[in-house]
């Protein structure tokens, strides 16, 4: 090998530098050593994590917070398999994450070599696309194509598996000038006929409702949607992942819809005569019983992925394209109808069925109280990430999101352990934005080893642990649907989270009484010398309401704790 010829690894890193990659989140290992070696000479900053799942969620958080791809580098075998949960999380929520995996040399493939795993095989169902590179000369073409797939169309994770002889071997193949993927098409804008039909339907509706999903966040459609809502005088609801596309504190915004959405959002869903999904995919958490969902309403669907049309709910008008460009194209076409009575009705519901929680007293610290104070004290300027479970739903209800890319949560996959590493990735991406990870005591323990990563880099990321010593959402279901026969939900043996954080070198605070909430949160907000962990020891057995039991119709929403026994849910989990 001539000294002047770059290795495959050097070509890879140079490509990523040119593509604007600032950070790579990863954990080293034998098969990936040539790539880690190439990073020594690179301006890309390597963030060494404590577990590959954490690396993947950090890259995911970085990507959601910026819209730019997050990059992960891990070794073969177990290093690669530890990224699978992060890949699923990114796939389900359409996040551009590039996972680079080391692999045993090509001559060892299929021979059960040390730390060999069939990584492309294991990950087929959880990637947008993937590649196994079998020669160094192929690397520039494959990496360019992978980056193109990663950064265009409906985002999703892309995996590139890199055998050690490919990254170590010489590569003098020229940089390819073009990309040739004849099977890959990127929709941009629906045809005029569909736009005109949609505009007519929107103008004719008496009770229109705009249902905003993650696609609106990804495409930056919020401003256009707010303008459309204003022009039509149509109320807006958003999904868990759609939070922030349109300011949730706006007068036409009814908050989150779905299983734990606001009562007034769900009442609007039941009563509307037109519903338009903008980058939402009619997930089972939104629709409840599909056969009963918006049956009498005209249903419009804006999506960049044609495979989402008619997947769960059929639609009358399908608009294939980028959400922002589609809504912008609709704006000049629509003529507002008369929605005065509809808005008055929505306002009446808002007043009649507000989001509430039991009034706090000195003996009971309630998660909802802590979160509504966090919402007030951060003044809508904090980026929030969550884990999965009760705290996630309470945070979604009580922490209103006012701007795009300020709310990161694992929706589709429902990945516990996501929130904290995602917050680390987001804090790297946006050092000047306050970042709060809102987590439960269950999920936090799945990835809390990344406290070391946060401490090493003195990231001012905050962690708010809503600690009820339970896997609370499952406990809630067992209480409501399984005669309170608790099984596998009691987290006895939880550590002292304050001491544990201090052991890592992080600042740690505890809220035990409602009277301490504001002081402790303010102290955490003011602390900027590194991570700060706040443990809120909350009432153990609070439940999240409103609630639509899985498989029930939206109209069967429970606004508060039911007084009679409920049937076991027949629908989705």
């Amino acid at each position: 090998m001539k000294a002047s010829v770059d290795t495959g690894a050097q070509r890879l890193i140079r490509f990523l530098e040119h593509a604007g990659v600032e950070y790579i989140f990863g954990l080293s290992g034998g098969a990936a050593m040539p790539i880690f070696d190439a990073l020594v000479d690179s301006r890309i900053k390597l963030i060494l994590t404590r577990h590959e799942q954490g690396a993947t969620h950090m890259a995911d958080g970085y990507a959601r917070a910026t819209g730019k791809p997050g990059v992960v580098l891990v070794t073969s075998g177990p290093g690669a398999t530890n990224t699978v949960t992060g890949l699923l999380t990114a796939l389900m929520d359409s996040v551009p994450v590039l996972v680079l995996t080391g692999q045993t040399p090509t001559f060892n493939l299929g021979k059960d070599a040390f730390q060999e795993a069939d990584v492309t095989g294991i990950t087929y169902p959880v990637v947008k696309h993937s590649y196994l590179i079998t020669s160094a000369q192929e690397l520039p073409r494959v990496v360019k194509e992978a980056w193109h797939v990663l950064t265009t169309g409906r985002p999703g994770p892309v995996l590139v598996d890199l055998p050690k002889d490919v990254t170590q071997g010489p590569c003098d193949a020229p940089e390819p000038e073009t990309i040739d993927i004849p099977g890959y098409r990127i929709p941009s804008l629906p045809d005029t006929e569909a736009l005109d039909r949609a505009a007519t339907a929107l103008g004719q509706a008496k009770r229109p409702l705009l249902y905003v999903g993650h696609g609106a966040v990804i495409s930056g459609a919020g401003e256009a949607i707010a303008a459309l809502s204003d022009k039509l005088q149509a109320p807006v609801v958003n999904t868990l992942l759609g939070k922030g596309a349109v300011d949730e504190t706006g007068p036409l915004h009814l908050g989150m819809l779905g299983m734990h959405g606001t009562a007034y959002a769900n009442k609007a869903v039941v009563a509307c005569d037109l519903i338009m999904s903008i980058g939402g995919r009619w997930d089972d958490r939104i629709t409840g019983k599909v056969d009963a969902f918006c049956t009498d309403a005209v249903r419009l669907h804006v999506d960049i992925d044609a495979a989402e049309f008619d997947k769960t709910v059929t639609s009358h008008i399908q608009l294939l394209g980028d959400a922002r460009r589609t809504v912008e194209a609709l704006l000049p076409r629509v003529r507002p109808g008369d929605t005065g009575a509809w808005l008055a009705q929505c306002q009446a519901w808002r007043e009649q069925f507000p989001l509430t929680f039991e009034s706090p007293d000195d003996d009971h610290l309630r998660a909802q109280h802590v979160l509504s104070r966090l919402n007030a004290l951060t003044e809508g300027k904090a980026l929030m990430t969550t884990d999965v479970g009760q705290h996630q739903m309470w945070a979604a209800q009580f922490c209103l999101t006012r701007a795009n890319r300020m709310w990161l949560s694992s929706g589709g996959a429902g990945t516990m352990g996501y929130g904290f590493p995602a917050a680390i990735g987001a804090q790297f991406a946006r050092p000047d934005t306050p970042v709060w990870a809102i987590v439960g005591d269950g999920g936090y323990q799945m990835t809390l080893c990344e406290l070391a990563t946060a401490c090493v880099h003195k990231l001012p990321v905050k962690v708010l642990i809503i600690n009820n010593n339970y896997l609370g959402m499952v406990r809630q279901w067992q209480e409501l649907f399984f005669e309170n026969r608790l099984s596998g939900v009691d987290l006895e043996g939880n550590p002292d989270f304050v001491k544990l954080a201090e052991a890592y070198g992080a600042k740690a605070l505890r809220i035990s009484h409602p009277s301490e909430i504001d002081d402790v949160l303010s102290e955490a907000i003011a602390y900027a010398d590194g991570p700060c962990v706040v443990e809120a020891s909350v009432v153990k057995e609070d439940n999240v309401f409103p609630m639509i039991p899985a498989g029930a119709a939206v109209s069967e929403m429970l606004i508060e704790r039911p007084t009679e026994k409920l049937e076991k849910p027949s629908g989705s989990t």
């Binding site: 087929y124 169902p125 993927i181 004849p182 099977g183 049309f309 709910v313 059929t314 009358h316």
Partner: protein, 190 residues
């Protein structure tokens, strides 16, 4: 598949007619490692069986042509087709249900012989009727080669049933639209 705004059901996966229709899909795919696995997974995760699968190089270099038959709930199959089309390595998918294409399949059938000339004569007649060729004539067995549409093969196999079929192998259908088709255009472009 837009439905009537006045319809009362909106569930895409409602039970429907057409459960027994055999759908024949033509795919043009990039000739890349893993493409077959990705396609198979689209069927498998929805609990769908692939009835037959034939893969061969396409007319243009770097591409392969696949013919897949499957049956089941038509709404799910529609979703399967969309998910196939979405795969980066899949260039085109067509379902031939509405416009029956030209269709061919090959089968080799091994039948027992040897009990006198009557039986051999009868086998010969069946072969004649179905345009089959006896490609091996042994002491105890004969092998027939059948070529035809799926229905024609089915008819021939029924006629051969009395001859004690000992072994059967079928290639799976391959299909082609008559005249100019999207697939022709695609391959000429690439």
């Amino acid at each position: 598949m837009s439905s009537d705004p006045n319809s009362t059901s909106n569930a895409a996966a409602k039970p429907a007619d057409g459960l027994n229709d055999v759908h024949t899909l033509s795919l043009v795919v990039r000739d890349r490692p893993g493409v077959l696995v990705r396609i198979a997974l689209v069927f498998a995760r929805r609990g769908y069986n692939i009835g037959s699968l034939a893969v061969s190089p396409g007319a243009a270099g770097g591409f392969a042509r696949m013919t897949i038959t499957s049956q089941g709930n038509p709404e799910t199959l529609e979703q399967i087709i969309k998910q196939l089309a979405k795969l980066v390595d899949v260039v085109h998918v067509a379902d031939h249900l509405e416009h029956p294409p030209l269709e061919a399949e090959i089968a080799l059938v091994k039948v027992g012989v040897g009990e006198g000339s009557d039986r051999n004569q009868a086998l010969h007649e069946v072969a004649l009727e179905f345009n089959a060729v006896v490609v091996d004539r042994g002491k105890a067995t004969s092998v027939l080669r059948l070529i035809g549409s799926r229905d024609e093969l089915q008819a021939a196999l029924s006629a051969l049933a009395p001859f004690q079929v000992q072994e059967l192998v079928r290639s799976g259908s391959v299909v082609m639209d008559k005249g100019r088709s999207v697939l022709t255009d695609l391959l000429q472009k690439s």
